[in-house]
């Protein structure tokens, strides 16, 4: 009766950005596992994200845990309505990791139009998508989570990606859906990105269990900061090779391409959030515990990620100081993956996922130290969820990922709504959407209305900040 396996997850990458980030994730994951797994055995940790296939076997070749690694196949589904990115993947060093049954492509793209992605392709490919997802699920002993990666500003990731999200809910209602969404910056090239983002937001609010929002601009800022440190920082401060969260860490693909630095950050986010699922540690945090502890109300499931350290300095500092600095940094606005300042907004809940040689006592000490400066909602004053994974990321001795359910997302959403309104007021480009079969104007009004009520909910919570909330009067019982 005792089953030894860990649970599995499937990554669904949709659109150009989704696939680029996804590939960085698989690249870094393979490197991480290669670093740990010296014996070449297909172990529990690997099986959470990879299948082991022996193509010589006639029955499809699936190999159970415990044997030697034959061919690792990613538990992934790749969807794109253009061929460029996926083709590149299939010609690159990751080609062995995906097989053709995991891919779904078309040629013409979505023209940066959410409606084309969601309605046109969503309908045309519905069955194929469901089939591909089913196959990936069937390869799993115990599927716990779907990770969806996509961008919000374009057509495919945004439109088709959110269609896939609702299919996941329909077909696999009991499997957790964690979505990593890349939000466009204000200066985004794509003029209609506000439309696409707002239309997608509604889907995320209604169908995702958790969303990890990432803003392009934050990634740019972090990349610049690291480059500045590498090239001109204080004398004597040399960054250890391959230890930044933007470096490819010498993964399979070798030389890095333009957006690789930014994509590596997001890939590291996924590596860290899944570390407890992939490796063992003294205080495991299961993926289903993330949603349970961090989502107090179903729609308020936007969790702001922050990653530290951004890099490791080559010289060895006093460990404890550096460790404590890591905890402090997790709450600084420079380390958040959206442009937000959680310290000056209100925390509903916070998770700290630590990797490496860190003890429970370090964790508790730092929480005690930082708590007084972090405003938590009155009914969740001790709203901390913690996890410890023994295996650090490659090139670091320890790392920390913080996920904050915090009202600091409100300004981000409000800004997005403003950009939307600017366009919508003038009805700019609207006809491109309304011309798509199945699309109606009500989609727009309902989407912005959904966002507005989300903003309202955050607003109400914000209003309680700093006020001394009296304890709720206790139930009095007849005596």
């Amino acid at each position: 009766m005792c089953c030894g396996a860990m649970t599995q997850s499937v990554v669904v990458q949709v659109g150009q950005c989704g696939n680029q980030v996804g590939c960085r994730f698989w690249d870094l994951a393979l490197r991480e596992h290669a670093h740990i797994n010296k014996k070449g055995l297909y172990d529990e940790a690997l099986s959470s994200f990879f299948r082991n296939v022996d193509s010589r076997k006639s029955d499809g070749g699936a190999c159970g845990v415990g044997g030697r690694i034959q061919h690792l196949k990613a538990r992934a589904v790749l969807v794109d309505m253009e061929e460029g990115v996926v083709n590149e993947i299939l010609q690159g060093p990751l080609r062995e990791v995906f097989d053709s049954t995991q891919l779904l492509t078309d040629v013409s793209g979505s023209g940066n139009n959410w409606a084309v992605g969601h309605m046109t392709y969503g309908s045309a490919y519905r069955e194929q998508i469901v089939d591909t997802l089913r196959k990936a699920a069937e390869h799993c002993d115990c599927l716990q989570c779907f990770f969806l990666i996509h961008s919000m500003g374009g057509g495919t990731g945004s439109g088709l990606g959110t269609r896939v999200l609702s299919l996941l809910e329909e077909e696999f209602p009991e499997v957790c859906r964690i979505v990593t969404s890349i939000y466009p910056s204000a200066e985004d090239d794509v003029i209609t990105s506000p439309y696409n983002s707002i239309l997608a937001m509604r889907e995320l609010t209604e169908h995702a269990d958790c969303v990890l929002p990432v803003e392009n601009q934050s990634l740019v800022d972090i990349v610049n900061k690291i480059k500045h440190m590498s090239h001109g920082g204080k004398p004597g401060c040399v960054i250890k090779r391959d230890s930044t969260i933007i470096s490819g860490q010498g993964g399979l693909s070798g030389a890095e391409k333009p957006f690789d630095a930014m994509n590596n950050i997001v890939a590291n986010l996924l590596l860290n959030i899944t570390s407890s699922a992939r490796f063992e540690g003294p205080l495991n945090m299961d993926l289903n515990e993330i949603a349970m502890n961090l989502v107090p109300f179903p729609r308020l499931h936007y969790l702001v990620p922050s990653l530290t350290p951004l890099y490791t300095l080559a010289d060895v500092h006093v460990p404890t100081r550096r460790l404590d600095q890591m905890f402090s940094d997790a709450f600084s606005k420079d380390h958040q993956l959206i442009r937000a300042d959680p310290k000056h907004s209100l925390y509903l809940a916070c998770a700290l996922m630590v990797r490496g040689n860190v003890q429970v006592s370090d964790l508790r000490r730092n929480i005690e130290r930082l708590k007084p400066s972090l405003p938590f909602v009155s009914w969740n004053q001790e709203g901390w969820k913690t996890g410890l994974c023994s295996v650090p990321p490659v090139g670091h001795s320890h790392s920390l990922l913080a996920l904050a359910n915090n009202t600091c997302v409100k300004p981000t959403f409000m800004e997005l709504r403003e950009r939307f309104t600017k366009l919508y007021r003038k009805k700019a480009h609207l006809h491109h959407y309304l011309n798509v079969e199945g699309m109606e104007q009500s989609f727009f009004s309902e989407a912005v209305s959904s966002l507005s009520s989300l903003i309202e909910e955050y607003h109400h919570l914000d209003a309680t900040k700093g006020r001394l909330m009296p304890d709720a009067p206790r139930l009095s019982i007849a005596r």
Partner: protein
């Protein structure tokens, strides 16, 4: 008479393993004068295979496999005892820190298998003294599945004694929804259990830090202290009713000594001395010294042997108040003193019979009981354990209910529980039950 233990969830399985390990060690200490005691202890907690191996009378249940695997492996490695090969059940997914997932989904789903494992273990006993379920209240499996399993056991063995050993989490939180899980667990167990024995992580943590001088306290250290204290309660002892032999009805006697009223089932434990093994070699204790400290710890509600407030005294009858915050004095409903070790018959326990310590409802003759064993336990030449039904747990309980209620007032996280099958009504019922318990203990005077 034997006790069957059900270990539930990560905490239950880790503490359970420590408990069996300590008991086995104790029961295998050499010495002719220990023979009867050792035999009684082994019979109580283990059965022997044809080869003479000791197999724990235990069922291990968890919704994920890692901890059970670790406990089984470590037991086998000890070379002195092990768990039964077929005595465990686990799944892959875990309960996600969600009581409702444990109670409404996992529990019923695996009911038959778990009941069968318990039955098998019970049938191996010549005579059943009762069952003990070990779990934490903060997570999803120990709390939710643990409650469901307790219910099943109660249904199958309506006349047996059931003791629940609960570990309460650190106040500053391990799991955000721990207070909900705790409230739901306690409310349900109050109807099912004969007695609820509680250890608080905060208290045990302090013992590790201040008395045992451990610098980087791990859960292993905490579990070791809990196991020591629990072992000192459950190991064989001579009671007033056992007529010179080791009691054959330990759980029954524990329950009748302490938990005679359905509104008062919460028991706390205090064991002294507690010290690092390094210090033990240089320490000598007298019974009068130990008992004086223990009595003052009871009176001032200090849970460990440091920082005792010697100013607190039992109030005169006219000053007795039934309030939550009282003047620092801890009123007891009933106490059970268990003394183990050298010269135990010379120990003078009259201090604990003082009517001033007790509420006026029970005659002090009934409120106080003591058990003795001339055999030292777990390397301590002398040790004294006090199991109390008193106001000691009132404040932690009240805090737990208060925090959970505040969260419930905002309905935060409720959708996560409703998703798995309990309703707001169920929450309200649980809150009402616990307010009743809080009220009962507050009024103890």
């Amino acid at each position: 008479m034997s006790i069957v233990t059900v270990q539930l969830g990560q905490c239950g399985n880790q503490v359970g393993h420590e408990l069996f390990d300590i008991i086995c060690s104790d029961a295998q200490e050499g010495g002719r004068e220990r023979k009867v005691y050792n035999t009684a202890s082994c019979e109580r907690f283990f059965h022997r295979t044809a080869h003479g191996d000791l197999i724990a009378r235990a069922v291990l249940v968890d919704m994920e496999p890692k901890v059970i695997n670790q406990s089984i492996t470590r037991a086998a490695k000890s070379g002195r005892w092990r768990y039964g090969e077929e005595s465990h059940f686990s799944q892959k997914q875990g309960s996600g820190n969600n009581w409702a997932n444990g109670y409404c989904v996992h529990g019923p789903r695996h009911r038959d298998v778990v009941e069968e494992l318990v039955r098998r273990e019970v049938e191996r006993c010549d005579r059943l003294a009762g069952l003990m379920a070990m779990m934490s209240v903060a997570g999803g499996t120990g709390s939710g599945v643990g409650t469901y399993v307790t219910q099943c056991v109660r249904d199958i063995y309506p006349k047996s004694f059931i003791l629940n050993h609960l570990t309460w989490p650190y106040g500053t939180g391990e799991v955000i929804v721990q207070n909900y899980n705790s409230v739901l667990t306690l409310a349900h167990l109050y109807q099912l259990s004969d007695a609820i024995l509680v250890h608080e992580n905060d208290t045990v943590h302090k013992i590790c830090g201040q008395l045992l001088n451990i610098k980087h306290i791990s859960f292993g250290d905490v579990n070791g202290v809990i196991a020591h204290q629990l072992g000192s309660v459950l190991q064989p002892a001579l009671t007033a009713d056992s007529h010179g032999a080791y009691s054959r009805n330990p759980l029954g006697e524990l329950v009748s000594a302490l938990a005679c009223h359905p509104e008062y089932k919460l028991l706390s434990v205090c064991t002294i001395p507690q010290m690092s093994s390094a210090s033990m070699a240089y320490s000598a204790f007298s019974w009068p010294g130990l008992l004086k400290h223990l009595r003052q710890m009871l009176v001032s509600n200090t849970k460990m042997e440091e920082g005792i407030d010697w100013q607190v005294r039992p109030p005169a009858g006219s000053e007795r108040t039934g309030s939550l915050t009282g003047p620092g004095f801890n009123t007891s409903l009933a106490n059970l003193l268990i003394l183990r070790g050298k010269d135990v018959y010379s120990a003078e326990t009259a201090g604990f019979e003082d009517p001033g310590l007790y509420s006026s409802w029970l005659p002090s003759g009934e409120a106080f009981n003591s058990w003795k064993s001339p055999v030292p336990f777990n390397k301590y030449a002398k040790s004294a354990t006090l199991v109390s039904n008193s106001r000691a747990l009132l404040r932690p309980l009240d805090n737990m209910v208060g925090k959970a209620w505040n969260m419930f007032a905002s309905r935060a996280y409720i959708h996560q529980y409703i998703k798995f099958g309990i309703s707001e009504e169920d929450f309200l019922d649980s809150f009402a039950s616990l307010e009743q318990v809080v009220s009962s203990y507050s009024q103890l005077c």
